[in-house]
């Protein structure tokens, strides 16, 4: 399926962005 990388990319980017935001909240809370 040639379109599969697009699906993987979409879900991976969503996960990374949400994860990064959660980490940023944690880091800012500690400061």
């Amino acid at each position: 399926m040639t379109d599969l990388p697009f699906v993987v990319a979409a879900y991976a980017i969503t996960g990374v962005v949400l994860g990064a935001y959660l980490v940023s909240l944690r880091v800012r809370a500690r400061r």
Binding site: D3, F6, Y11, V17, L25
Partner: protein
Amino acid sequence: MTTTTFPRALSLRVRPILGLASAAAGAVALYLALVWAPPDAVQGDVQRVMYVHVPAAWLAYLAFLVVFLASIAWLWSRSAVADAVAVASAEIGVMFTGLAIVLGSIWAKPTWGVWWTWEPRLITTAIMFAMYVGYLLLRSLEADPERRATRAAVVGIVAVVNVPIVHLSVTWMNALHQLPTVLRPGPPAIDARMLTTLIVCVIAGTVLYAYLMAERVRLELGRGTAA
């Protein structure tokens, strides 16, 4: 005069529950989106991008509506909580708008043949994104908490006009972006299992928004810079 009346004790109990509920709802949504929902008859599996793209766009709408309401609340009450809710929701809304644009771009390439095109929905969304980035920049320009909150509130009230413009832009002009499928007059134009999956994804996203808001508002009030 402003007062901080954030119910901290309640927040302490609610945040872990929201975090757990968000993780559980996210797991269910992921299973439905990637396994249970059928592939699209025309687009195949790439249509599964919809289950993250649409909730991201919905959360952007919701977040900016909350900025609007919190901005009115600030001007009305001068409550530090209202200003904290406004900035928290604006920041989260900017993140979800950016995500909706990127995910839309990823979906556009295999279906439209391009990553980006200058069509009404995309242009209006880009303008909305820029305006709320501007909202956050404006906040960083003023050191005085009261003035910062008041200036931001004015922008927060005016900028909400973007939300109906973005949503209705596809009906006003000939557009490449598809018309509303769920939030439209008449019944949703979508397969029942796809609709169920989409609704679960939107609910999971909304729970996540509530959790992120609880964390971000607490952070803002904990800084002690809010008036």
